[in-house]
Symmetry: C2
Subunit: 202 residues, 2 copies
Amino acid sequence: MKTLAALVFPEFQTLDLFGPLEMFGDQDNELEIIIVAESGDPVKSRHGQYLVPDRTLKDGSDYNYVFVPGGRGTPVEEDNPAITAWLIEAGGKADIVMGVCTGGALLAKVGLLDGRRATTNKQDFEWSLPFGPKVDWVPKARWVEDGKFFTSSGVSAGIDMSLAVIAQEFGLEAAEKTAREAEYDWHRDSNWDPFAQVYGLV
Amino acid sequence: MKTLAALVFPEFQTLDLFGPLEMFGDQDNELEIIIVAESGDPVKSRHGQYLVPDRTLKDGSDYNYVFVPGGRGTPVEEDNPAITAWLIEAGGKADIVMGVCTGGALLAKVGLLDGRRATTNKQDFEWSLPFGPKVDWVPKARWVEDGKFFTSSGVSAGIDMSLAVIAQEFGLEAAEKTAREAEYDWHRDSNWDPFAQVYGLV
């Protein structure tokens, strides 16, 4: 059984997390999802729902996959030494590290994306850039894969990226089955990104 | 401030709930989201995450909007007298009642959809029919609106339906802004439903 650690922090963006968890959760014969937070207290999402963590940062950093949602909590957590230390450690050891939306900015801030291609939320694209001056930020992409790092555009883009990761790790058939069962119109082309134009990035 | 009661029960489908909550949550200047469960204990989703309810069934049934996700907990809850009584009462009083996926089967079971057009999950379509023998089940539809009742197809279809409800209740501009900020490819046509064919319903 492989493990996916999904980091949550106050004001995490709701769909950034739960879209991908619907997709990864469907691989439950092969994958255990673990919600990780700084403490064991329920964590409030951007939209006011309280999620109970499964483990805390102190419970370890050995996971196959590390997943980071975005949200307006991102700029707070970038200065949180417990979060950043865990991200560097867990992200360094993981087989795959994923960031959705401004979650990519958090990965950039701790240096994990230095020298790599990455993307982030398109509305907040310019805001994300200073988090990673050594990152090759891609303005038009639904998601970007560079080595073990996958970063997606805003919110719902995390679902498409997650299906790409599932296809790579668990097989294309598993990804197609998951998308079909969720009746989800999977955008399989990582270059599909009408929102880059909407927000004037291209 | 209007109120939306989202009913949760063990094994509710993750994205059935949190896709719509991302969309409705973005209307937070005009809408309060309240998670309602049978008791105040955290409720486990289909994919293992624990959500803390805001209120219990006993805390009342006066909400502007009532929202019901699906999931494999549906067949259990259809025989739960506390849940069914609350649904009849709250659903009867609400301005709009929504069911996503097999959540529609639950609404059908308590009689709220009698004599009305409705849809549900396409993979489990045949399974849903006996829940509502007096319902005019529509095999090909992303979502169906009949009076104050909105029902959607499986899982991700709830997002499209929610945006249609937001457009009706809070204006098209609000719905478009929400979809854009979530970088979501909104299917605006309620007749768009490739999954009806995938599952052999048309």
